[in-house]
Each structure stands twice: as C-alpha cells, then as structure tokens.
Amino acid sequence: MVLGAETLAVSRALAMPGEPLRTLPELRSENGRVRTQLIVQNARFRVGDRTLHMPAYRFEHMAEGSLPGPTLRVKPGDRVDWDLANLITPTGIPDGATPAQQAMFDQLDYTNVHVHGLQVSPGENHDNVYQVLRPFCAPERYTYDIPGPDTGRPQPSGMFWYHPHKHGSTSHQAWQGLSGAIIVEGEIDAVPEIRDLRERVIILNGLLVNPAGEVPRAAMVPNSGFSPFSPIPSQPTDMLLTMNGQLRPTIDIRPGELQRWRVLNAAPHRFFWLNLDDHDFYQIGQDGIPFASPRPVKRILMAPGNRAEFLVRGGDPGSYALHADIYEQGHPGGARPGWIIGSVEVGGAPRQDPMPTRLVAPPEMPDLPIANRREIRFKGEISGNDPAGDQDASGDGALVPVKFYLDGKVFALNRIDQKVLGGTVEEWTLINEDVFQHPFHIHVNPFQVVAINGQPTNDDTWWDVIALPSKGALTIRIYFRPDVSGKTVYHCHILPHEDNGMMANLFIYPPGTDMANPPPVPDTPMPSGSGPCTI
C-alpha cells in the first residue's frame, strides 16, 4: 500500500480483497417515462470488516436500500417523476448528548434531492434544492423533463447523479454515502466501438464513520490525519474510501478487452486522483458531456462531484492496483494520503477490441457576444475564531467552528447574488484566495474554462464542477440555456464548505426580460416546523 508522507495514521479499514465489484441496482425508463419513489431509510451494510448503520436510497420496487444508491437510466426527452420519502432516523449521536442537544442536530436528518448536471427546471417540484423534507413527513414530488432533441439542445449523453442538497446537511448525508448515478443514454452509446463494451458504473464514496459505524451527528471541524474531520464533541472517526460501497473490490477484464468505466466522485471532500498501474485511460467524457474523440491520459483528477468516463484496455495478465494517489487539496495538515481503492484482474482469453477514433459532436458554445463579466471570490476561515455572519462580522456572539464565504458572504436564502438572462453567454472569473482548491459547481448549465490565471486554455471541455487553483483564478464561459429559468445556486462542492456558507443564489430570467429593470424575485418561503412529523 502507498501512504502519504504526512499521513499520521493508517485507516483501520483494511480490505477484504478479491470481492468482485458489484453492479448497482438499476431502474430504466420505458416509453419515455419513469415513475417511482425514492426512499431514504436506515439500513446496515457490511463494508470490509465493519457494519455501517446509515440511511440509504432505494427505489419503490426494491426491498432493500443500496450503498451507494441505485442507478437511474434515462434518455433525452424522458420525463422522470419520483416522490422523495424521508424515513431517516438519527444515528451518530454523541455520547452524553441530552435530548435537547440531539434536537439541535435534527436538521441533519432533513433532506431533499438534487439531480446534478441535468439541464432541467430548478423550480418548485422540479430540481428545487430549497425544498426541506423532514423525516416521516409526506413524500415530496419531483418531476424532471430531460431536454430532448426538440429543444435544439438535448441533454448530453453521459453520467450524471443525484444526491441530497439540503443546505446544512449535505456533507453529513454525503459522508453517509447518499448518492446515485443517473445515466443518460444517447448518441455516444451508438458509437460502434463503444456500443457493445462491458460497462462499469462506479461510485466513489468517502464514508466518515465513528466506531459504531455511524456518521457523527454533530458540528465538524477539519483536522490533520487520515480521517480529515472531527466532531464537536469529539468522537473517533475513520474514513472509508469505497467503490460501489466496497473496500478494494476487484474488476475483471480480459487481455486486450476495452471496458467502459463511468466513474463518479460522490465523496463530499476527498479529491480522487485516479491511476491504474501499467494502464492508461482513454477519456471519452467529462461531467456527463462526451468528447469528439478519446483522449489518452495517465491519471484523472476528480474533485468532489466530478464524473469521468473513460475506456480501459486490459493489459498483460496479472493484478494491477487502482490508486487514489496522494493529493494536496489544501486541507489543514497536508496532503490527503494515497490509497489503493481497488484492483484490476486481467485474465482469460485475449481479445482485440478496436479503439474508437471518433465519438460524437460535443455541444458547441453559441457564438454570442459576452453579455456580462463577473467576479466571484472564494475564501474560508477555519480558525474557529469568528462569530456567526459574513466575513466582516464582529461582536461578542458565539463563535462558529468554520466559515466559508463567496464574495465575503455566507449563504442567505433570499439574497439573490447574481441575476442572469437566459439565452446569453457570460464570463465569470472565479478567484480563489485560499490554498483549498474549492471546486466550483453551478446548477443547470455546464461551462468551459477559457483561462487559468488570465492565460488562455484553448480547451473546449465542458464541466459542471471544476477545482480552482490554490491562490489562483479560473475564467469560465457559460451559456444559460434559454428554456430553463428560475432561482438556483452555485457553490463549492466541498460540501462541508457549502454547508458552512460557500453557496449563493442565481436567478435566471427568461429571454426578453429587461435586465436594466428586472422584475423582483419572490422570496423562497422559510421552512417551517422542526423534528420528524408524527407517524
């Protein structure tokens, strides 16, 4: 095993090697429709030598929850309807917590669901991340109309995902592994060299658990060590880096066989710098958006929220380690340690699958003038020395453990931070004042990176999450599709940063709006009630 120089301890999460990578349960749309319930309910899972106890997703037809959640397969033009049911009961309660103290963290069991990367309406009963669903309250309906060819700009074919997005609870629930893949099938799946390949849907999670196998239900602060966060009050924690909920599973492949891997980093904090011994990756898509041709790469860096889709060709027979390489992402106490997350077993009858040379025509950036240029500043405060509020907050109020700002401000539900016009192209410069490589994510519309620290990139890759350079800047170009308007968010995809303020509101006005005098945005109602609904 490979360990980072600054690792203070080795994870106790040793593998049970040899277990084959599991295929996650799937639900596929039929005749352009899917209708189900998405149920979140506590379950127990055997991971390595431990039993974990945490909420897990399942679809209505499934008897048991899955860690991570089941896969949804759809096509552009489909309509997805699901009712989210929250059956979460508390876990991870600190020793000695009184009922009153426990109630302070009730919101860690509130949830909602976001379909990350789908270019769908963010409105009420659609991809609405302002929804707050308390446990055992009536299920909440979500409907997604995935853009089809009739829109002129169909949803790209690739890997997207769903996960909870309740502000304040997102990191807790991501550390519980609440995440699932959404595969949009389309043009790239018809490429002859790709159509018949064996496919692996791989979800990487970072599960932060106490010795009871539960995620601490408490405020969290960063620390040095293999497990990067500690609760207040403290509990011992461990970090389990899993593939499809397994520790170090094996993936079988034949010599010369091409396999299609779709990989999602669903961990809330850990970057995965993927590297397979003696094998290259042939990347065919990023964040769900396919490339024009495969790009051979030795390693792929995945910030939290990123997806990478690539082909792997089996080499000489043997066993090869799949690494999350040591990576300095700016966390206090140094680099996240390197770790072997799985292995590839090459064996069986050789094949010689042809490598595709051409894939599909990627979406194009419309040739429009830049309608607006903006700057967004990223800054965090992890000393624990500041009272609640924005960056300039002062006074004798209670100190908060950590604070993260966009433009000096923490998230406020009804402050509209940016107003944009659908159907236009804008350039945003994302300025990172920290060494943390905050991964920027924006809902609904993907973007291209046109400059790094002011220097042009000449790169037409589309992203929906991208890590900012330490103490540097990225300039992105974004097209706001004209047929989706409403209130939504952009934020850091290190979810403990998002939960502690690093999120802001964006309002997309429909084309034709007079942006010199835009209509006011109605307030999103504050959630009412607390604790579970009575059963």
Binding site: G168, P211, P233, Q235, P332, S383, P401
Partner: protein, 153 residues
C-alpha cells in the same frame, strides 16, 4: 449547519445529565482504535459560548490535540492536567491555512491507565505567543479540554 443551529449548539451543549445514560459498546472488529481528536474549536477555557460542553471519552481510545502554531509553540501543562499521559509531539506542515501559523502541532496523549468509569479529567496546553487569529477561540493562549471517562465495555 445553520447559524441558529450552531449558536444553539455552542450556547447549550452539556447539562451533565449523562450519569444515568447507558452507553452501547462500539464494535471493535479487531482493529486498532482511532483517536479522539481535539482542535482549537474544542477549547472550553474562558469561552462563555462553550460553557458546560460535555466531552465523554471511552476507555481504550488514543487522544490527540491538534493546535495551529509555528512560530508559536504549545506546551503540555502536566500540573494543570488530570488523568492523561503525554505521549509526544509532531509538527505537521500546514501553511496558509490559519493566519500567522505555518504548522499544526499534533500531540499524542492517552488516558492514565488507572482511570475508571466516571472519573473526570482535564487536558491543558498553553502558548506564550498566541497568534491573533486564535485570540477568541483560545483566549489568553490557554487550551483546556475537560472530560469524563466512560467504560461501556
């Protein structure tokens, strides 16, 4: 976490009502136990907003205190500590995270071997050169963590 949630947490953690509670053993699964880690945010000394905060520590787990420093150093105060033993210090490079500090000072400690369920204890560290970025969270450069030992096994 909402600001309200945090304010409530910091205002009211701990009422000392744990004495009657039963604690379930944690499954060990034969592996080395991970440490309880305490950072500057766990300090209770001279922190009205942390008064009454309860920290229970299960017997058998290592302890770590991690405090930002360099150039400031932090020193263990044996005479102001109780029921813990000091097991050494590491300086971990951590520049540009917290103003005025280049490193994290990582201290290993453990419960005194003779402690029993219900015993109370205290860990104290001090510095003479408190970075201004820590002056409210560790007032006066005195870090104190109070705990009660539990032994569910």
């Amino acid at each position: 976490m909402t600001r309200l949630g945090l304010a409530l947490l910091l205002a009211s953690l701990g009422t000392g009502a744990f004495a009657e509670t039963r604690y379930l053993p944690w499954p060990e699964d034969g592996a080395a136990p991970r440490p309880y880690i305490f950072t500057q945010q766990h300090n209770v000394e001279n922190r009205p907003d942390a008064e009454g905060r309860v920290q229970l520590i299960r017997k058998g787990y290592p302890l770590q205190v991690q405090l930002p420093g360099n150039p400031a150093i932090w020193s263990f105060r044996a005479e102001e500590s109780e029921n813990v033993a000091y097991r050494g210090r590491t300086m971990v490079y951590s520049p540009n995270r917290i103003a005025g500090t280049e490193s994290l000072l990582v201290f290993d400690l453990e419960l005194s071997p003779e402690v029993r369920d219900g015993d109370e204890g205290r860990i104290t560290f001090t510095t003479d050169q408190l970075p201004s970025a820590l002056e409210r969270v560790v007032p006066g450069g005195v870090f104190v963590l109070r705990f009660t030992v539990i032994d569910p096994g």
